[in-house]
Every structure is written in C-alpha cells, then in structure tokens.
Amino acid sequence: MIEGRYFQPRSARFSPARLSRPEKRMLRLEGQDGALIGEFRLKRVRIRERLGNIPRRFRFPDGGMFETMDNDGADALLAGTGRGASTLDRLERSLRWVALSVVIVVAAIYGFAAYGIPLLADELARVTPPNVITFIAQQSLKTLDGRVLSPTTLKPEQKAKAQAILEKAAKHGHLPLKTYRLVFRNAPHVGPNAFALPDGEIVVTDQLFPLIKSDSELEGVLAHEIAHVDRRHGLQSIYQASLVPAAIAVMTGDASQFGQLATLLPGILLQSSYRRSFEQQADDDAAETLKANGEDPASLAHLLLRLDAKVCGKTGCGPSWLSSHPATIDRVNRLMGERKP
C-alpha cells in the first residue's frame, strides 16, 4: 500500500489516495477513508520508470492519475511484475556503473576525436567528385581575389623560374604533373605566404620571393604545398570543420547558451590540432622530395626561420596550441633532423 495523490480523469483536481495490489495483475485505488475509487488491470496502467526522486506517476486508461513521492514503496508494490522498471535508476545511482560510463564516454570521445573524425574526413575527401573539388577551389580563389589578393607584379622570368622549380618538385608528387598549377598573386595585407587549393592550384604571394635566398628553399615550399594537394588536406579540413560541431552537438545533446560557450573552445583546439598534423606531414613529404633531388631539407627550415622573424617579430606568434601551424622551432628541428640520412 502506497500513499499519494489521485487526480480525477482529465482534471487538475486531486485528493489524497492510496494504491495497493490485492491481486497479482490488479491495482486498487482507494480514498483516504478506504472507499474504492477504481480497480485497474496492471497492464492497462502506464507506469513511469523510476528517475531520481521525482514523483512516480501511474496513468490510468480513463485519464486519471495517481502520483506518489514514495519511490521505494512503488518499487515494492510492483516487485515481480516487470512493470515500472527501476533498472536504469540503479545504474545511475551505482558508483561502479557511473565510473564505467565515465570511462566509456572519455574513451569514445578520444577515439572519435583522434581516429574517427580524421578517418571519416579522409574517406569523404576521397569520394568527393572532381567537379565539386574544382567548384570549391574556384569559389575560394574568387573570394580571395576580390578581397586580399591582386594581380601579380612579378617579372615573367621570375615566374618561369618558379615554374621550372615546381616541375622539379612535382616529379615526386602522387598526381600527374599538369595537376599542379602555379598561381601568382600580390598580397600586401597577407604578406609572404603560399597555400594550396584542393584542385591542385598552388598560390604563391609576391611577398614571399624577396625572402627566398636559394632555389632549394622555393622547392621546399612548393613540395610542401604539393603534399597538401596529394593528401587532400584542404578538403579534409572542410569536412573536419563540419564534423567537429556535429559531434559536439551529439555529445552535449542540447543547445543551451552554456553548452555553446563551453563547446566552442574544445572544437577550435581540436581543429587546430588536426591542421598541425597536416603541416607536419607536408613538411616530412617536402623533406623527402628535397632529399630525393639531392638537396638539403634544412633549406626549408632556413626559410621558415626567416619567415617567422618577418611575420611575428621578436615576440613570436603566440602559443602553438592555438595556431594552425606547429611552432616554427618544432618544424625547424624536425626538418634539421632529416638532414643526415
């Protein structure tokens, strides 16, 4: 027998009541004075599972409702009937199951962040149709051309020389030579830079050339960008950028203000860590290309140091965990390590 409140069918009006189970499959509802309110077949009654200490509610087929604060009493009343289960409630209260859940959640998050998203993005990049890749690349270049890039001011012989160096580096690329196309642009606001578009165009800014002291330095830069194209890094970044927020939305399961604020930063950190591993891969590939052409991988390192001094000044460019590129000093050390075969 459990004490509670009975709400009349489809009404907010209630009175104190008691619920008992006189027969195995029958519930008896009575008023405080013991007068019968109704008898209900157990299987026709909707009984909520136990959850924390919120009131347990029994909904009757006629729209009436009985609720009780006595959750233990309700469990005892229903024992052996298989109704109003409290299995989940026991898991949620058990230290062991909660600890196991923490392990599962942390492992799943780590696994998905470290392997799931990169694999998925790689697979999606692989199956992306070539016309879509061209479309994306052309749109990006068009956007940049309207804003930060303007026509090049390089002399034709400078361009021809760069083209010859590209062809030398591209021999070690995975794709046909004509895939890689050099694009020169003047970019006073961006400064010295080079980047690859997913369809194989490699954009080099005019501002990079004054910093280059030898052909092998330019070859290192171009080999680095060729690696980005070969490994579809640009496309993968696009997919990662949409997979990370989707994954975080699934994790938190709600889009409250607090949730958004708290999930913004981990998302940014995760994506910049993916980018850093792409940069490292591209550096490694560039070092291989330079070595295969009989040149010193350290030449790329020398250029990186000069770039760093030019762009970041003496104070450096901020902490590496926030940026999309690994700290220059780490990249230089890695490239220097490639020197001796």
């Binding site: 709400f7 489809r10 009404s11 907010a12 009006r13 209630f14 959850l51 924390g52 200490n53 919120i54 009131p55 509610r57 729209g63 009436g64 409702m65 989940l88 898991l91 949620e92 209260r93 199951w97 909660v98 196991l100 859940s101 923490v102 599962i104 959640v105 942390v106 799943a108 998050i109 992306t128 149709p129 879509v132 479309f135 939305a249 699934v250 994790m251 938190t252 399961g253 889009a255 409250s256 203000q257 607090f258 949730g259 604020l261 708290a262 930063l265 981990p266 104070t315 901020g318």
Partner: protein, 347 residues
C-alpha cells in the same frame, strides 16, 4: 484592486541535485554512444524529465512525457534530410538555392510543430500545456519580423523580439485557457539600449587596459609579466560579450514573464538577475573546461536551480478547476528537425 489582494504567491522550487543529475547524464550518454546514437532519444527524455520533474510550484512538479520513439523518428528524418542536402549540394551545387527556399518555407511549420510538441508533452497536475500558433503567424513573427529587424540595421530588432515573445506566450495554453503577455515597446528598447551601452562601456574599458599594457611593455618593462597582459585581456572580451547578451536576454525574459497572466487572473513573476546568470555561466564554462566536460551536468543543475527559484506564480485560486481538452500529442518531427538545425527556439 480587489483581485490584486486575492493573489497568493507560490515560489518555484528546484529539488534536483548535481550529483544525481551527473549519474543520469553520464550513464545515458554512455548508452547513447555505445548504441551509435539510437538511444539518444531515450536519453533526451530521461534527462529532460529529471529537470522538469524536480521543478515544483504550489506543491506539484512538472512532468515531461513524450514518446521517445517519436523523437527517434524525428531524428532519423532530420539526419536523412541533412544527408540528402549534403549529397545533393555536393554533386549539384546549383541546387543549393532550392534547398534554402524549401527550408525557409518549412521554418514556420518546424517552429510551430516543435513548440506544440514541447507544450503538449509537458504536464502540470495531470493537465497538458498546449501551443496553438498557425503557419502564417509563425511566418510573420519568427521569420519576417527578424528579417525586418536585421534589414533595418538592428533598429527594429527589439520590436521583432517583442513580436516573437508575444507569439510565444500568447499562443500557449493550459487546460484550454490562454497565457497572455502585454508590455510597451519602449520598455524593450530601453533594455536593448542598456545592453549595447554595457557592451560599449566595458569594451572601451578593456581596449584602454590593452592599450595601456601595450604602451607599458614597449621598451621598458614597467609592468611585471606585461607580455602576458595582452593575452590575459582576451578572455575578458568574451566575458563582456556574455554579460551584454545575458543582460538583454534575462531582462527581456523578466519583462515578458512579469507581464504575463494566465486565464486573465493568475500572474507570473520573475526576478532573475543578469549579473548572477553571467557569473554562473562564466564560472560553469571555466569549471567545465578544467574538468574536461565532467562539470557540465553540475553546471546545468546550478543554472536551472537559480533561474527556477527566481520565478513565482501569483495564483488567484487553487487551480483545481482546470481540465484537459486535449488528448492527442503532436508529432516530434518538428522539434527534432529544429533541434538538429539548431534553431534555438524558446524565450
């Protein structure tokens, strides 16, 4: 005035605990993950039911009672629609315009259906809430007004917010009786002005501090750790932004709720402090970062408790007389599709 005197004040109360909610959250999250998301519909109902079930007013708690199956079906449709969109736009980029037009036309239906689903599955004292907005009304208040607000260079944005809040409150019902809110447009403009002033005032202060730090750390290191001061100021900008946005949200919420009547007799009252909410949101954020996410459920309970306990019901009667006029709950598809695309519906 005689009606005023007869009102009895019932404060809302939240009886849940962060510890209890943590167990519920993590176990259900783990189950969602090992079932590849299928269980997430049940997890959503269970976590939401815990928060509602612990919200008490006048001796009774709310109940959240949807069918998880409907939520699951809604989620499957939402994910399929998103995949169809991604694939189609990937292979035929020119179809993107069609998708946006189609989605735009769907928005009013999604909003109504989502609000109706939440309302009809929320019960208090055995009676369901209801939402009775029409497609054309949702189109005007949730789509056209916001567009007007942005096109007018934000000048009409407070007015658009008023339209949305009126629609949200005035189309809700309980036991067949309406909720009603009514306040002057001037009040909402004052709040937005206050929010903008707060943002500009605190922002200017920060810019001044940054400039001073830059100058002080130029050639002579007059400030210890001066190099790091610039970085230290950066998170403060987020706090200023959060404070300004929270100020507007909470003050508009208070304004709307304080002018809401139910059944033309009962009143609601809200005394939520925007400063307290900013403090809770920012500290929750930091603690969640420090605990790699494990503080999240504690933070949610903390915020829910604070906001809930600043609400009151001023009842003119014992509410016994309300009866249900509804029997059938609406589909969950609207709410789930809206949730997936993050429309962020609500006050």
């Amino acid at each position: 005035m005689e009606g005023e005197n007869a009102l009895i004040r019932h404060d809302f109360e939240f009886r849940g605990s962060g510890r209890e909610y943590f167990g519920i959250w993590i176990v259900n999250l783990a189950l969602s993950l090992i079932t590849f998301g299928i269980y997430s519909a049940w997890a959503k109902v269970r976590t939401q039911r815990y928060l509602y079930g612990n919200t008490y007013v006048a001796g009774h708690s709310l109940d959240y009672d949807p069918s998880p199956w409907r939520i699951l079906i809604g989620r499957i449709i939402a994910v399929s629609a998103f995949l169809a969109y991604s694939v189609a736009v990937g292979f035929w980029p020119q179809t993107i315009g069609l998708f946006y037009i189609g989605f735009g036309l769907l928005i009013p239906w999604l909003i109504n259906s989502s609000l109706r689903f939440s309302a009809r599955n929320t019960l208090y004292r055995n009676i369901r809430f209801d939402f009775v907005g029409r497609y054309s009304e949702a189109l005007v208040n949730y789509v056209i007004w916001p567009i007007v607000g942005y096109v007018s260079l934000f000048l009409l944005l407070p007015r658009a917010r008023k339209a949305r809040d009126y629609y949200y409150i005035n189309k809700h019902a309980y036991g067949g009786r309406p909720f009603q809110t009514s306040f002057s447009t001037g009040r909402i403009y004052l709040i937005y002005l206050g929010g903008v002033a707060l943002f500009l005032g605190l922002g200017a202060l920060l810019v001044a501090v940054s400039a001073w730090a830059d100058a002080a750390t130029g050639d002579f290191k007059t400030v210890p750790f001066g190099d790091y001061l610039g970085f230290a100021v950066l998170p403060l900008y987020f706090i200023v932004y959060t404070a300004a946005v929270t100020f507007i949200d909470i003050m508009v919420f208070n304004l709307t709720v304080n002018h809401t009547t139910f059944d033309e007799r009962h009143k609601l009252a809200s005394r939520v402090s925007p400063w307290m909410v900013t403090w809770i949101v920012v500290t929750n954020f930091l603690l969640t970062l420090l605990t790699i996410g494990l503080f999240y459920p504690f933070g949610r309970v903390r915020l829910t408790r604070y906001q809930t306990e600043r609400l009151s019901l001023m009842a003119a009667s014992d509410l016994d007389e309300y009866t249900s006029e509804l029997s059938r709950a609406n589909s969950a598809i609207g709410e789930e599709v809206a949730g997936f695309f993050d429309l962020g519906i609500g006050l």
